[in-house]
Amino acid sequence: MAINIIQINTILNNAYDLLSREKNHINNLNVFPVPDGDTGLNMALTLQGALNNIKSHSIKSMTIQEYVDCFTEGALLNSRGCSGSILALFCKGISESIKLTEGSISNDELSSALKKGCEIAYRETTNPTEGTMLTMMRVLSEQFEKLCSESSNNTFFLIKKIIPSLEDTLEKTPEMLPILKKAGVVDSGAMGFLILIKGISFELEHNESIIKPIFSIANILIISKYVRSFVSHKKYGKRNRFIRTFITNVPLKNISNINLTNIIKLFNNLLQKKNNEKLAETIIQKSDELSETWNPNIKFRYCTEFILESENLDKTEFENKLSSWGDSLIIIHSNNIFKIHIHTNRPKSLLKTCEELGKISSTKIDDMKKQHHNLISEDKAYYNKDIALLLILNGNGFADIMKGLGTVDIFTYQKVKPSVNQIKNAILKTRAKNIIIAADDSDIIPTLKSAITLSKSNIELIESKNIIQLINIMYHYSEFQDLYQNTKVIREHLDNIKFCKIARATRDFAEENINVKEGDFFSIYQNKIFFSAGRKEIIIEKSISELIDTETLITIYYGKKENNTDKVVSKLKGKFENITFESYYGGQNRYNYYITFE
C-alpha cells in the first residue's frame, strides 16, 4: 500500500510537533558524546529547518522525489549537533534512494530508501557507535524490510508494528554503550528517534505526552549526593531525619534514571539492615560513578558548525585536514556545499583556516562546558533568542541613542562602575544563547571577563574603550547575522569614527607642554591632550579647526553637566559653511563633550 505526498507532509509535521514538545526530556538524557543537554533541541531544529524549506513550495505540485530532496536540503543546511547531523545524513540516504516522479511511494520503495538512509548515516559518521540513534535506524530499516516481505499492509500499520522492537532496542542502549549505563540513562538520540517514529505512526494523540514527568539531571545528582553524604557519614541522628524522610519518599516512578532508582532501593535496604558496611560501600561507589559520568572532562570544548561553499574541494582530503582539529567530526557534502560539525578547542582559528577554502556561512559555536553546567545546574538558563548585543555604558542620553539604532540590551551605570554580579544579571536578562558584549570604558573589561566566566551563554567580548566605539558597534551590528559574522564586521570597523573629547580640569596640571588650570576645558584626541581653554565655545571651535579634514558631518554629544549646545552650534555653522552640525544629549558624567567627525 502506498502513501502520498500530502500524507507524508502531515506525518512529518506531526512528528516534528511531538519531538518539539518532548525536546526538554530528550535533552535531560544527553550524556554521549558530551553531556551538553541539547540533543532534543538539535533534532527539533534540524527537522524545523527541513520543514521550513518545504513551506516555500507548493506541495501539491511536487513529486515525492522533489519533496524529499527539498526536505533533505533543508535538513542538511540546518542540521545542528551530532544528533541533527546524523538525522540529516539519514534523510540524505533516503533522498538518494528515491527516484520517483509519481505522487506516492510503495512499501518496497520505502524499505529500500530506509536501508540507504541507514547505510549513508553509518558510512558518513566518523566513528559510528552502536547504542545510539544509528542502531535505531538500523533496527527500523531491518524490521521494515522483514515486515514488507511478509505482508502488504498499510505503511503506518507496519511502522506501528516496529515500535515495540525499537522500544526494546532503546532499553538495550545502556548495554551497548557503557557510558550510558554508568550515567543510568538510555541514549538521548535514540530516544529522540523513537519519538519521531512514534509521531509518524500516529500512535499518539496529538496532545498526549509520551514521557511521564521526570526529575531533571540536577535533581538526580542532588538526590544521589544526599544519599552518599547520608551513608558515608552514617548520619542516622535527629538532624538528618528530614533527609532520610525525603529520600525514602522520593517517588521512584518519577525517576527515569535507572542508577538512581537502584541507589534509592539499596538505601532503603540499608536503612532496614543497619550497619551493613558492604552495602554502604556499594551505595557510595554507585553514587560516585553517577556523579563522574555526568561531570566528564570535556576534551574539546566548542561544538562548532558551519557551511562551506567551495568548488574543487575533495571531501576525503578535507576530512583528513579537519580530523586533527578535534573530534565528533561529521561532514555532510552535497554539490559544492559542505556542512561541517566538529568538537574543537580552537573554533575561530578553524573558521579562519576554512575561509581560505571557500565562502563560510551559518556559523554556530556552542561552548559545551557552559551548556554542560547549564544541564546539571539547578539554576538553568532558558533562552528565547539566538543572539543579543549587550552594551554597558554611562549616560541616559547615549542609552536612548543606542536603542534607536537597533535591537540592543543596555546596562546603564552612573558614577560607580558596575559590579561582576550586576553584569552577570544583565547577561542573564538578555535570555540569548549568543551574546556580544562591550563597554564604554576599558576599566570595565576585567569585570566583564569575570562575569563572562560565570554566565551560561556563548559570549564574545569586544574590547572597546569609549562610547563612540559603541555607536560604531550599533552601526554594524545586525540581529540577522550570527555571532561570528557580527563580531568579525564589528572588529573590522571599531575605530572608524574620528573623535575628540572635552573635559574640565579639577586641578592645575601640565601635559605635553600644555598647561591646564583648574576650571579650564581641555581637549583630548587619541589619548593626548592637544589644547586647553577657559571658555567652552573656544575649545569646541579650536578642536574642530584642528581636527577637521575631509569630513562633512560633525556631531556634538553633550554631557550631564552641560546645557544644550544650540548657541554654540549656530556659531559653528557660520564659521564652517560646508559642514553639517548635529547636537545630541549624551548624559555622560566624565566628559563635557564628545565631538565626532564623519
Binding site: 536612548d400 541613542i401 539604532l405 545586525s478 553639517t580 548635529e582 564623519e598
Partner: protein, 293 residues
C-alpha cells in the same frame, strides 16, 4: 519564423519608458491613492509632483494592486498578434495581490495564448534592470524556455539597495519587513535597505546605517563587492542608479564616483523616478540596482 513576443510590465521600473528600446511592450499603471483620490502616472502626475506634495502639504499616499481589467485589455488586444506574452512583475513578496491577479489571468488564457509571469523579486530599478536584461536576451534568441531560465538566474543575481532618509514611507506602505529594526532613531541616520536576489524570500532587509550620504554609499559598495566576490563575477553586467528628486544630487554623484572607481561594469544607467515609486521612498531617497550577470 521568429516568435512574436509581447512584453508587459508596470510603471514602477526606476527607468523612463524611453530608455527601453523594444517596440512590442505594454505598460500597466499602478493606481496611486492620494488623500483618498485615485491618480495614475501622467505628464502631470510624476514623482516630483508627489514629493512636492509630501513636503508642502504632508499628504498621505499609498499604492494599489494592478487592475485586472487593464491586464485583460492588453492580453485581448495581443492574443491574435503574438505567440507569447512575457510579464515582468514586481517581486511577489512585495505585492502578493498583483502577483495572484496576474497568475489568474495566465490560467484563464492558458488555452489561448501562453503568458509567462516573471517574478522579478525586485522593486523599482531592480525591476527595470531585469526588464532591460530580458530585452537584451530577446534580441539574441527566441527560445522562450532558454530565456526564462536565464532570466530566473538573473533575478537571483540582481541586488537593489535603497537609501531612505525617512523609513516612515516604507512602513506606511506596509513593506518595511525586517528593516523595522532601523526605525525610530534619535540620531539622524540614513537607513540602507535592500532587496537581495539571493535572499529574495526575506523581503526588504536592513543592510546598514549611514550617518552621511558618503557612508551610506560606502555601505552599498561594500555590500555589492561581497556579492561580486561570492559569485566570482569579473564584470558587473548592468548598474542602474537614480535619485527620487534630483538627478544631479551630491548623493548620486558620490555614488557614481564610488562605482566608477571601485567596480568593473559593462553598463551604468541613470534611471528615472516614477510616480508610484515616490509613494514608498519618500523625499531624498536614492537607489542602486546591480545585475551581476
Amino acid at each position: 519564423m521568429k516568435k512574436k513576443v509581447l512584453v508587459i510590465t508596470g510603471d514602477n521600473l526606476g527607468i523612463a519608458n524611453k530608455q527601453i528600446v523594444y517596440k512590442d511592450i505594454a505598460y500597466m499603471k499602478f493606481p496611486v491613492i492620494i488623500n483618498d483620490k485615485e491618480f495614475k502616472e501622467s505628464e502631470e502626475y510624476t514623482a516630483a509632483f508627489l514629493i512636492e506634495r509630501f513636503k508642502k502639504e504632508k499628504v498621505s499616499a499609498h499604492t494599489q494592486a494592478l487592475v485586472k481589467g487593464d491586464l485583460i485589455k492588453i492580453v485581448e488586444a495581443a492574443k491574435d498578434n503574438y505567440d507569447v506574452i512575457l510579464h515582468v512583475m514586481m517581486g511577489s513578496n512585495m505585492s502578493a495581490a498583483t502577483f495572484q491577479m496576474c497568475e489568474q489571468v495566465r490560467k484563464e488564457y492558458k488555452d489561448i495564448i501562453p503568458i509567462i509571469n516573471i517574478d522579478s523579486k525586485q522593486v523599482i530599478s531592480g525591476i527595470g534592470s531585469i526588464l532591460l536584461r530580458l530585452i537584451d536576451l530577446l534580441k539574441t534568441s527566441d527560445d522562450i524556455a532558454e530565456i526564462t531560465a536565464k532570466i530566473t538566474e538573473i533575478t537571483t543575481n540582481t541586488f537593489t539597495y535603497l537609501c531612505l532618509p525617512d523609513l516612515g514611507f516604507l512602513q506606511r506602505g506596509g513593506r518595511i519587513g525586517k528593516a523595522k529594526s532601523l526605525l525610530g532613531s534619535i540620531l539622524k541616520i540614513i537607513p540602507v535597505v535592500g532587496l537581495l536576489g539571493d535572499e529574495a524570500d526575506s523581503g526588504i532587509l536592513p543592510i546598514g546605517k549611514g550617518r552621511t550620504f558618503q557612508s551610506a554609499n560606502r555601505i552599498i559598495i561594500e555590500n555589492i563587492k561581497q556579492k561580486i566576490q561570492k559569485y566570482k563575477i569579473e564584470t558587473v553586467k548592468q548598474i542602474v542608479i537614480l535619485h527620487i528628486e534630483d538627478k544631479d544630487s551630491l548623493e548620486l554623484k558620490n555614488l557614481e564616483a564610488q562605482i566608477k572607481s571601485e567596480l568593473k561594469f559593462e553598463k551604468l544607467i541613470f534611471g528615472h523616478p516614477r510616480f508610484c515609486e515616490a509613494v514608498h521612498t519618500g523625499p531624498g531617497a536614492w537607489i542602486a540596482s546591480f545585475s551581476l550577470k
